[in-house]
């Protein structure tokens, strides 16, 4: 952003919006929007409480296991789909179906299947993340330079060697792109799961704050979640840029 010919640092517009928020909060226009400063004060206050730390831990736990399984299953499945027409024809309709399906509607079913606990949340998270990871890994493999595959084959690569030394690396830029979008979806999954199951993690906190009209607390938690999601997405975007140098030259 440039103002009066002075280049302002990235995201300095956030400051403006923050000030506006503070102003609206100070004039007490609506109980729904407390001043930003009060929210940050509350954040510092609840940040150390046991309930908050437990919620953060449970969320981190569900999120990391959910996304990790989505990667560990999604990447190889996507690579296999890209390599084999048969596997591709078997799985692609399902992947496309789930990619666009309103997965939130499935969460109650998962709760019935896996109980009202952390397990259902992990599975919800993985379910939100995995499809785009599969699809991107598949796309990464499909654009691979054929002569790289022939090269590996001609120097005696086993199928496993070809998988780990060629296909994976050639598809890495797309895989990372898929993982980044998958993580963003997983944040949705983990929060939606917790809201619907509402007795674990931030779900229980939200429930508590919302039913008691504790708006400052509510916003404080929300800001933490937004910030975490943003940091994760930016970190993955940074990893993606690191493989950019060869993304266009395979």
């Amino acid at each position: 952003m440039t103002v009066f010919g002075i280049k302002l640092p990235n995201m300095s517009s956030l400051l403006l919006w923050g000030l506006l928020w503070e102003f609206i909060g100070q004039i007490e226009l609506t109980f729904f929007l407390p001043p930003l400063s009060a929210i940050f004060a509350t954040l510092l206050e609840i940040g150390g409480t046991k309930a908050f730390i437990t919620a953060l831990k449970e969320t981190a736990h569900a999120f990391s296991i959910g996304t990790l399984s989505a990667i560990v299953i999604g990447v190889p499945v996507g690579i296999l789909m890209g390599k084999s027409r048969l596997i591709d024809q078997l799985l692609l309709p399902w992947v496309n179906l789930f990619l666009s399906a309103p997965l939130t509607a499935l969460v109650p079913v998962l709760m019935v299947l896996f109980g009202f606990g952390i397990k259902a949340i992990i599975i919800t998270t993985a379910l939100f993340a995995i499809w785009i990871i599969v699809l991107n890994s598949r796309a990464g493999v499909m654009q691979i330079n054929r002569s790289l595959v022939e090269m590996a084959h001609s120097f005696g690569a086993s199928p496993f060697d070809a998988f780990t030394k060629i296909y994976f690396w050639a598809a890495l830029p797309e895989i990372l792109g898929g993982v980044r979008i998958g993580f963003i979806r997983a944040v949705k999954g983990v929060i939606i799961g917790q809201l619907l199951i509402s007795i674990v993690g931030f779900g229980s906190l939200f429930e508590l704050y919302a039913s008691n009209f504790l708006m400052k607390h509510f916003w404080a938690v929300l800001i933490v979640l937004f910030a975490l999601a943003f940091v994760i997405a930016e970190f993955l975007a940074y990893l993606e840029r690191r493989v950019d140098y060869y993304a266009s030259r395979r």
Binding site: S147, M151, S154, F155, G156, A157, K165
Partner: protein
Amino acid sequence: MTNPSENAVTVRNVYKNYGEVEALRDLSLDFPRGQLTSLLGPSGCGKTTLLKIIAGLIPATSGEVLVNGEVVKAPGPDRAFVFQDFALMPWASVIRNVAFGLELRGVPKSEREAIAEKYIAEVGLTGFEHSFPHELSGGMRQRVGLARALSVDAQVLLMDEPFSAVDEQTRRKFQEDLLGLVQNENKTFIFVTHSIEEAVYVSDQIAILLPRPSRVMEIIRPQGFRDKDVDHIRRDPEYLDIVDRIWASLRSYVE
């Protein structure tokens, strides 16, 4: 009869169809050991196809290929391929690319890097061991591809238009270096090109392929100028004669 001690590679009655397209028809050809044989023919006549069948990368529809008397079924350590588009791994350094064939054979890292360094020096890339392919020019990239093929120490080198993607000056230097390699390395070279001058300049034997379905039309063995100094070959009367003769027989196939 083919004598396996004389011919490193023998192609016998090879047919290759890609669905409806008949690429090779009843092609037979011998590749004498320790010599460079060129496959020369217009684009699309099946040169790459033949080379890949010899490499074991694609199967022939019928017929067989023998390397040292053994029927080819798959790629093997007795053959190494140099690719037209280099086929370097863009995420790997020069030294890892060069050592990749050895890596796949399970040679320990320090050992294979020592071998790779030797061949990197041989192709004139010392100092670029830790560069990445995108930092190199086309000519340098093909030197990496060449070093990779040399470092596995295969008896047969299969080169698919290796110099077609590099500029003319680099190409000439490559051709001279190739003559040196043929003399010093005691390997059998199978060299695909569509350039008549290049084929005559580097070859001990030139197989001229007809357009699809491809067979060998003629085999030419330059005699007189092979031992001469590289600087004089292009002015040698026999060199000029052969270039003319090949052009005369190919021109009827070129619109």
